[in-house]
């Protein structure tokens, strides 16, 4: 392995004595590189295997990309449990530590701002699905004769659209209620069932930036909402904490625009 390429995972405050990272991409050693008043979490990847061509070739290789994404994320996950970290989006490659330092310097105002924005906070994901049970109930409204079937079907359809409107409102309420316990919150586009492998329809794909001290309260609230919503035909899932992927850089505004 002669030539290497620098991969940056994220940015932390300068003089952050963070060590003990899990292995990085391609099982490389991860460390904090101090530059321009920031700490860049980096590792050196073999240029052969992680150059531009490799990224292009592997853009459709789910197992390659999945492995890389996971190792990138694991490093960030470790970092975010210990300090404020701005996660870098993949791919995040630099020719050298010097070019990374130049880049940090050029972006320093924005990075400063982002670090201030997320310090003491982490991201939580809450997803709301329509329960399959309700779908079954709606589908079971058929009957025997042709005309009865048509009548029943049109009733079922109008009931379903009323339901849908109600659900839409309810989901908006859930999102805003969780937003009250959050510092910032965004609604992302629902994940496609084909991508997630879930049969239930996703109604809400929300991200919430929550103060670490407010986490118990946030989770309690999610739990209450989940209890109350079961009868309404929705299912609530929460996962986290995540590094603040949705609340750094342009991602927040992009995500907000993606709503609807």
């Amino acid at each position: 392995m002669d030539e290497t390429i620098v991969h940056a995972y994220g940015v932390v405050d300068g003089n952050e004595p963070l060590t003990g990272f899990p292995p990085g991409i391609a099982d490389t050693h991860v460390w904090v590189f101090d530059a321009e008043g920031f700490g860049a979490i980096v590792s050196r990847l073999p240029a052969e295997g992680f150059g531009i061509q490799d990224w292009e070739q592997n853009a459709s290789n789910v197992s390659w990309l999945g492995r890389v994404a996971r190792q990138h994320h694991e490093v960030l996950q470790y970092a975010c449990m210990n300090t404020a970290v701005i996660p870098m989006r993949l791919p995040s490659l630099y020719r050298s530590l010097e070019s990374l330092a130049d880049t940090l310097h050029a972006a320093s105002d924005r990075l400063m701002q982002d670090l201030g924005r997320i310090r003491g906070k982490l991201e939580w994901a809450v997803k709301v699905y329509r329960t399959p049970k309700e779908e079954r109930a709606a589908a079971a409204e058929g009957s025997t004769s042709g005309s009865e079937y048509l009548l029943g079907r049109s009733r079922a359809l109008s009931a379903r659209s009323a339901d849908r409107e109600q659900l839409r409102e309810r989901v908006g309420e859930i999102h805003d209620t969780l937003g009250e316990v959050s510092v910032e919150y965004v609604r992302n586009q629902p994940q496609d069932a084909a991508l997630s492998g879930r049969r239930e329809q996703m109604l809400l794909n929300g991200a919430y930036l929550v103060n670490r001290v407010d986490e118990p309260h946030f989770l309690e609230l999610v739990s209450e909402i989940a209890d109350g919503s079961l009868a309404e035909g929705v299912m609530v899932e929460v996962n986290g904490p995540w590094p603040a992927y949705n609340f750094t850089g342009d991602a927040g505004s992009i995500a907000a625009e993606a709503v609807r």
Partner: protein, 68 residues
């Protein structure tokens, strides 16, 4: 926790959630970056096209993570 609530830690994070954030979110700082933003989009687009069986593929990816 109630039955109505599905909660898990990032130990079992799904690939689709990971991709949503690691490639869809986070920071891109421009400068002497090897891959430009256009290429990031390219990667992302390519990915969306093929991610359909990701939940199946994901099973074969060893987690190998440690909790912090």
């Amino acid at each position: 926790m109630s039955n109505a609530l599905e909660k898990w830690s990032n130990e079992q994070v799904a690939l689709v959630d990971l991709i949503d954030r690691v490639i869809g979110g986070g920071v891109v700082i421009t400068g002497d970056v090897v891959l430009g933003i256009a290429d990031v989009d390219l990667v992302y687009l390519g990915l969306r096209l093929v991610l359909a069986p990701a939940h199946e593929v994901d099973q074969s990816i060893p987690l190998g993570r440690r909790s912090a």
